[in-house]
Amino acid sequence: MMQALMIHLPLVGVLLAAAILATAIARSASATPVVYGICAAASAIGLGAAVLSLTGGLSKEPLVLPLGLPWVGAHFRIDALAAFFLVVVNLGGTSASIYGLGYGRHEHAPHRVLPFFPAFLAGMNLVVMADDAFTFLLSWEFMSLASWALVLAHHREAANARAAYVYLLMAGFGTMALLLAFGLLAGPGGEYAFASIRAANRTPAIAALALVLMLVGAGSKAGLAPLHVWLPLAHPAAPSHVSALMSGVMTKVAIYGFIRVVFDLLGEPAWWSSVLLLALGGATAVLGILHALMETDLKRLLAYSTIENIGVIFAGLGLSLAFEANGMGWAAALALTAALFHVFNHSLFKSLLFFGAGAVLTATGQRDMDKLGGLIHRMPATSVAFLAGCVAISALPPFNGFVSEWMIFQAILQSPSLPGWGLKIMVPAVGGLLALAAALAAACFVRAFGVVFLGRPRSTVAEQAHEVDGFSVAAMAVLAALCLLAGILPGFVIDGLAPITQALVGGTMPSQTGDAWLSIVPIAEGRSSYNGLLVFAFIAISAWLAAFLVHRFASHELRRGPAWDCGFPEPSPATQYTGGSFAQPIRRVFGTLVFGARETVEMPPPGDMAPARHTVEMRDLVWDWLFAPIAGAVDFAAGYLNRLQFLTIRRYLSFVFLALVALLLVLALWT
C-alpha cells in the first residue's frame, strides 16, 4: 500500500514551488492561469489522496524529516482526523483555484495575490499533517502570515490596511496562546513530538490551563466570541476566492488544532470544559448571526455568518466532551460526528457563498447590498448556485446544512442522562440558542438573497450586470451540487467519519449505508431517523405532479402586467425594502440587548421644509467593553514608557545594571 505522506508532502513542495514561480512571473499575463492551474491540480490530487486515506486506501505511517529543531526533527503523520481535514482543505483549495482561474483575471494587482495563494494552501496542508508542536506552530504561523499578506492585497484601501493590522495583532496573540499551551503540554523535558505529549502524565491544573490557552489560540483563529472581532474585518478584505478559503477552510484548520489537542493529546476531558465550550458556542452562534442580519456589506455578512457556524461547531464539540467525560461513547460519537459533518458542510456552502459574492462583485463592482437587486435576471447561473448555498446554510432540508443541525439536536436529546446540574441546565439552554440561531440564519439568508438577487435593481451597475465567466460558474456549480449530494446521501459522509470518532472518543455511530433506502439513524431505528433522499424525491415528485396536473387540467395561460402593489405601484426602485429596512423588525426585537441599538426620528414640524431623518445607532458591545479598554490601557502604558526613549547612555546603563541586580536577587531568593 502506498504511503499517504508520500503524496501529500511532495504536493506541498509543488505548492511552495508554485509560490516561488509566481513571484518570478507574477507580472506576465500567463501567470494567473499557470499558478491557479498548478494549485487546482495539486489540490485535486491531494483531495483524491485524502479521500483514499480516509477510506483506508493508503497507509498512515508517520515520517520524520531532518528539518526544524535539530533534536526534534519535523514529524508528519496522517491519521483519520488529519485525513478528513485534508479533504476539507483540498476540496476548498481545488474549488478556490478553479474559481481563481476566472476571477483572477480581473485582479488589478496579481503580483500581490499569486505568490501568497499557493503558500497559503501549503501552510494549511502542513498544519494538518504536522505531528510535533514545533512543526505545527511553524506551519500555523506560516498559514497566518500568508493569509495576512492576502488580506493586504488591496492595501491602498484604508479599511483593508486596518483590517490587516487588527488581524496581525490577533493572529500574533493567538499564536502566543498556542505557544504557551504547547509549552505546558511539552513539560520541562521539552518533548515536542505529539506521540510523547500524548503519553505524558500531567496534573489537572496544567491540563486545564492548556485547554483554556488552546481555546484562546484556536478559538481566536476560528472566530469564537469574544475573540471574533478581527474576522469580519479581515475575511472580506481579501479577494473573494481567498475570503472563501479563509472563511470556509482556515477556520476549520483552527478547529482541527483544537480537536487535535483537546480530544487527542490531552486525554481524559474535565466535565467543566464542556460547559465552557457549550456556553461559548451557543453565545457565538446567536451573536454572529445577529451581526450578520444587521450587515449590509455582502461579504461582511458572510463573514459574520461564519462566526455563527463556528459557534454551532464548538457547541457540538462541547456536547461531545460532556458525553465523553461521562463515559457515553456512543453519544460522544454522535455529537462529534455532527460537529465534523458541520465542518465539512460549512466549508462547502461558505466557499460557495463567497464565490457568489465575488461573482456579484465582479459583475457590478458592489458589495453593498442596498445598491444591488434584480440580479436573478442578469446572472441566472450565479443566482441558482447562490440560492442553493442560502438554502443549505439556513439548515433547510433536503440540503446538507439541515443534516448536521439535525444530528446536533439529536445529540442534545441524549443529554438528560448526564449527571451534574451545570450540564443539565446548560444543554437545553444551548439547544434553544442553536434553534434560535438556525431560525435567524434563515431570516439572514432570505434577506441576503432577496435584496441582492430579487426585486428591481437599485443602481445602474446592478442593471447592467452580466453573468461571470465559465470557471467561476463551474466552481460554484460543483459546490452547489455537493451541498445537495451531502444532504441527500449523508450516510456516506457519516460512515467516512466513523474511524475518527473511534480513535478520539472510543465509539462510533451505527453504520449508516446498510440501512434501507439510505436513511440515517443516529442511535436506533425506533428513536429517530431521517432520509434526505426520500424527502428530496417526495418534494420533487409532488411539486412536479402538482405543476403538471394544474397545467394540464386547469390553466396554463399567463399574462405579464405591471405589478399590483395594492393599486399604487411606485416606479422608483428606491421604494423597495432594503437590507436595513428588512432587518428592522429583528433589530427592534434583539437590537437593544445585543447592540445597544437606538433609533431616533427627527420629524420637522408642519410647514418646515427640512427633511425628516431616521437615524439608527448600533454599537459592537464586545468591541466597546473588551477591546477598547485593552487598547486604551496599551496606549496609556505606551505613553508613559515613551519617556524611556530619549535618555542619556548613562541612564540606560544604570537601568541595565539595576535590572541585572534585581534579576539575580530574584534568582537567589527563588532557589
Partner: protein, 318 residues
C-alpha cells in the same frame, strides 16, 4: 400484504389531508361568521375559490423571475409532504421514518423561506414588509416549536411522530407539567405560524396590517390557488399535530381491522371539528396585536417551551 396495506394507508393519508384541508378552512370561517351573527359563506366555499382560481389566467408582474413561478408549487409540495407524515386517522405510516418531527418543522421552514423570497421578488414595498415581518415572527416561533419538540421527545424517548403519539397514548404518561407547558407553547406557535389572530389576520384586506397576505399580494390565478391550498394544508397539519400528540386516542393502530380505521376516521374528524371550533372561538374573542407586540407573545411561548424542556432535564417524571 402488510406492505400493500401500509402503502394504501399512506396513500389514503395523503389524499385525506388534501381533501379535508379546504373544508377545515371553510368550517373555521363558517363558525367565525356564525359567532359574529353573520350567515357566512358555505363551508365548501374554499373549494369553489380554489377551482375558480385554478381556471383563471395568471397575471404576472413584469419584473417577476422564474423563481416566482416555481415557488407556489415548491411551497405546496413541501407542505403536503409534511402534512402526509403527521398521523391523522391511522398510526404507523409507511414513510414515517423518512422525516421525524424536527424534519417536519424544517420542511415547513423551507416553505416559509421560499414564500418570503417570493414576497421580495417583484420588488414592491408590500412584499418586502410582509417578508421581513414573517421572518421576524418565524425567528421566534421556530425555536419555540423546536423546544416543544424537545420536551415531547424527552417524554417519548423518540422524535419519530408515530412513536411519540403511541407513547403519549399510554396511561403511564399521565398528566405532566412539562406537557402542559409544551401544549400551550405549541398552540401559541400554531397561531403565529398560521397567520391567525392575534398575530396576523387572515381575513383582512388592509394590507398594512398583514404579514402573510402582504407577501402573496402579487400572486394570482393558479399560483395563488397553490399558495392558498398550502396555507389550508398547514392549518390542517398543525391541528392534526396537536391532536395526534396531545389527544392521541382513537388513532388506528397499524394492523387493526376496518372497524379500527372507521373509528380512527371518526375520531379524527371529531378532533378537527373541535380544533377548528376552538380556533374560531378564540379568534372571535380576542383582538389582533400590534406587530411589535408579537415578539412578547412569542417570547412567552419560547419561555414556556424552554421551561418545559428544563423540567424534563431536571426529572424525567415531571
Amino acid at each position: 400484504m402488510d406492505l400493500i396495506l401500509s402503502f394504501l394507508i399512506q396513500a389514503a393519508q395523503m389524499a385525506v389531508v388534501l381533501a379535508l384541508a379546504p373544508l377545515l378552512t371553510g368550517f373555521v370561517r363558517k363558525v367565525k361568521a356564525r359567532l359574529l351573527r353573520r350567515q357566512g359563506a358555505s363551508v365548501i366555499q374554499p373549494y369553489r375559490d380554489l377551482a375558480r382560481l385554478l381556471r383563471k389566467e395568471v397575471v404576472l408582474a413584469q419584473n417577476a423571475s422564474w423563481l416566482f413561478r416555481v415557488i407556489p408549487y415548491l411551497i405546496f409540495a413541501a407542505t403536503w409532504v409534511a402534512a402526509a407524515l403527521v398521523p391523522t386517522f391511522a398510526g404507523g405510516l409507511l414513510f414515517s421514518w423518512t422525516a421525524d418531527l424536527i424534519a417536519i418543522i424544517a420542511l415547513l421552514g423551507s416553505a416559509r423561506f421560499f414564500l418570503a423570497l417570493a414576497g421580495m421578488d417583484v420588488g414592491t414595498s408590500f412584499g418586502g414588509i410582509g417578508a421581513s415581518r414573517e421572518v421576524m415572527i418565524a425567528s421566534l416561533a421556530e425555536p419555540a416549536m423546536l423546544l416543544t419538540v424537545f420536551a415531547l421527545a424527552l417524554v417519548a424517548g423518540s422524535t419519530q411522530l408515530s412513536t411519540v403519539a403511541a407513547v403519549l397514548a399510554t396511561p403511564e404518561v399521565g398528566l405532566r407539567v412539562s406537557l402542559a407547558m409544551a401544549l400551550i407553547a405549541l398552540v401559541m406557535v400554531a397561531l403565529a405560524e398560521n397567520a391567525r389572530i392575534p398575530v396576523d389576520n387572515p381575513a383582512t384586506h388592509l394590507e398594512l396590517t398583514m404579514v402573510h397576505e402582504a407577501m402573496v399580494l402579487e400572486y394570482s390565478g393558479r399560483h395563488l390557488a397553490m399558495i392558498e391550498f398550502a396555507a389550508s394544508l398547514k392549518l390542517l397539519l398543525y391541528i392534526s399535530l396537536i391532536a395526534c400528540v396531545f389527544v392521541p386516542w382513537g388513532i388506528a393502530a397499524p394492523g387493526s381491522g376496518l372497524a379500527g380505521f372507521a373509528l380512527g376516521a371518526t375520531a379524527y374528524l371529531a378532533k378537527l371539528a373541535v380544533g377548528g371550533f376552538l380556533l374560531a372561538f378564540f379568534e372571535t374573542s380576542i383582538a389582533k396585536m400590534r406587530v411589535f407586540r408579537v415578539p412578547d407573545f412569542l417570547g412567552v411561548a419560547l419561555m414556556l417551551s424552554l421551561l418545559g424542556t428544563l423540567l424534563l432535564f431536571a426529572s424525567r417524571s415531571l
